[in-house]
Symmetry: C2
Subunit: 197 residues, 2 copies
């Protein structure tokens, strides 16, 4: 504990925002130090390599994501309300993440596509966890009798993620004001095709 942890938290905080803008590779220790009024070496000492920093940034972002998106959602009633909360909060997370940059995970996903290494491995693990979370929520909806039992929960998760990616693209890159409405519409169609008849 103590002061060091506060600094570390502040570093990771800024890193998340910065990495969402310029990527995990574009994230630079020098710039980070300047913005936080630290020396490069002092900042560097908190992590012993840039790679370690990148991984910890991913972990910190995931922790925040769970707090802001997953936890509140699982407090909603099983079935449709819960999955809708998941979706709505994910949208809000992507929109905020404040200022520029969009969602760190989406940015990192494209960046680490084909660059093997521990950082990529960590991201894949986190994404797998998130997709599994969606699938689980869907499955509980099935056992509750509101979703069709003949559907593959993982495919549902995949499709939902596609909607989210489409939203990110339309809103962040294309700056399309209809992005939100379209994401909601696509989500609605996905839901209604998953509902038990």
């Amino acid at each position: 504990m103590g002061k060091g942890d506060d600094t570390r938290t502040a570093i990771l905080d800024r890193s998340i925002g910065l990495a969402a803008e310029v990527g995990l590779e574009g994230l630079t220790i020098g710039r980070l130090a300047t913005e936080l009024h630290l020396s490069k070496s002092g900042l560097f000492a908190h992590f012993r390599s840039k790679e370690a920093l990148q991984i910890q940034v991913l972990d910190a972002a995931a922790e925040r994501f769970v707090d802001e998106v997953v936890k509140p959602a699982v407090r909603e009633p099983r079935g449709e309300p819960r999955i809708r909360a998941l979706f709505d909060r994910w949208l809000a997370w992507t929109k905020s993440n404040s200022g520029p940059g969009g969602c760190l995970f989406v940015a990192a996903a494209a960046e680490l596509d084909d660059r093997p290494g521990p950082v990529r491995d960590r991201l894949v693990a986190l994404q797998k966890g998130w997709l599994e979370m969606i699938a689980i929520v869907f499955r509980t909806g099935v056992t509750e009798g509101v979703f069709r039992p003949d559907l593959d929960p993982e495919e549902f998760a995949h499709d939902l993620y596609s909607v989210m990616l489409g939203f990110h693209h339309a809103s962040r890159l294309m700056r399309d004001p209809r992005a939100g409405a379209r994401a909601q519409a696509a989500f609605g169609r996905l839901l209604s095709s998953a509902r038990r008849t």
Copy 2:
């Protein structure tokens, strides 16, 4: 013209592959020169700045995309065959683009999300053109009477692009062998919901 154009083409060729791997920012003149057995300065002379190189890389990739995806697709019959050809060839383009890296445009989209400048502007323009192309193909399907006239063609384009993004994510990052099948399934659902009853 002469030899210079051959070199330029070779540079852009390698640049497209490299940029798909490491991004347009990660694309480096030094590495490019080494791989192509050129001097940094000799290579640099072809473009007068890195930014100009990045833009020309985007343009070159777009040109190739049109040749490999759009042109063959518009030779297909109007309506469903044409839009299916568009989709299938896009999938093939994303898979090949040979070796690692995936689709340059998807990578660039995430990278340039919130980084203003001429490169981003160029990418947005190209993406807008591509989305418009999808919408136009959809519209001709409407006038042919095979697609529902009450649907928004641009929304259809948006939804189709979402499917593509989902495929890219599942296949490139997650290395999910079911990515192709799921993309086809999602495409099938999108199509059947767009067909006239």
